[in-house]
Symmetry: C2
Subunit: 210 residues, 2 copies
Amino acid sequence: MLTSVSVQTLQRLPVYLNLLKSECMQQAVYVSSKTIAESLGLHEIQVRKDLASVSSGGKPKVGFSKITLIRDLETYLGYNDSNDAILVGAGKLGKALLAYDGFKEYGLNIVAAFDNDESLAGQKEGNVPILSLSKMNDICDRMKIRIGIITVPSPAAQSICDQMVASGILAVWNFAPAHLDVPEHILVKNENMAASLAVLSRHLMDKFTD
Amino acid sequence: MLTSVSVQTLQRLPVYLNLLKSECMQQAVYVSSKTIAESLGLHEIQVRKDLASVSSGGKPKVGFSKITLIRDLETYLGYNDSNDAILVGAGKLGKALLAYDGFKEYGLNIVAAFDNDESLAGQKEGNVPILSLSKMNDICDRMKIRIGIITVPSPAAQSICDQMVASGILAVWNFAPAHLDVPEHILVKNENMAASLAVLSRHLMDKFTD
DNA sequence: GGTATATCGATAATTGTATATCGATATACC
DNA sequence: GGTATATCGATATACAATTATCGATATACC
């Protein structure tokens, strides 16, 4: 427990959590690494290693306590204390994310959205107010916002990102298909649809050319 | 060239392409791996290795021909010949993806959407017709659709996925936060928002506890 | 035309991740 | 209570990805 966890492991943790909370595990009290591995198509050794880094041990013969595991995973992933975030770019994708109410389950709370189209200012989308971009700095500062979500077109992304960093944002979730340059201590997580599509597309191409 | 490319490399290719096409490279004729690496925060050796697997060589002292590189990347990624796809789940996220017109740039063409809410049938979103789920099998079969996009709530995801596979789908792009079980030859690419959030959230937690 | 140098490409070392092996232990069952 | 066994956890191996090293080569400049 408490060792530094690799990004790969980290990204598997929500998947474990999701499985443990799902219907098919409803009545389970103990869950073995083997069961988890088989359900997710992973190897049991990997599951054990992943879980070992965020939770206290399981019991031989029976496995891991489900509720303990859920509690530890949620704590580690920060689902208990919520993170406030702002979103910039209230276009189609931006509005969809604002309306999506699943984020609070993951401890993410979007408190405001911004757009440089002033005609949107004053509207609401999924209970989140859309405001003029000029107010971003002030609000981030006052509310100590640390997460920024970028859903603007690519050419504008870097500029918005710079403004976010200047406003005290520490982690950027970038939905624009563009590379962002940031100071060292800032984290950028790209939700790169093009990259995903590349994997899909090549899979099909390979299937039909050999 | 033409060696099998790792998923990691594959996912970087669209990023290279995006950079090469961006404004800041507008007037360049030759681009060196060093330039690319610096722009993207990567190492030049990695860039050279990645490019070597999809394009023919560069020239010492000057670098790679930009247009050749763009052409080879687009060919490799299949941006030239388009892939038809269907989408299931015309909720908020589904509609956002339908309305997003950036996919055709990547060679993805969503031809129809399906939802089990019959009241949506007949509507259009971003020029894509929304149809009754019961018609999915028939349409996939007739149009030889090979890509399916899942934007339904988690509990329904596996069932939809099974129907897709039964309809001849070979690659699934899964936006539901759920693990999908599929036969071996089927590819599932998860667009896992929870996993991304985990990375963001832990970054912040680590920042504030050491 | 000759030389210096930027950049490439191949090979090698390193790091990191995933998988395998094996002894230890708590539970279940006799 | 004793024994068999499922499962854990630690150490070790194998594999894949990234980073480093170095010689080769085409361009630029004198």
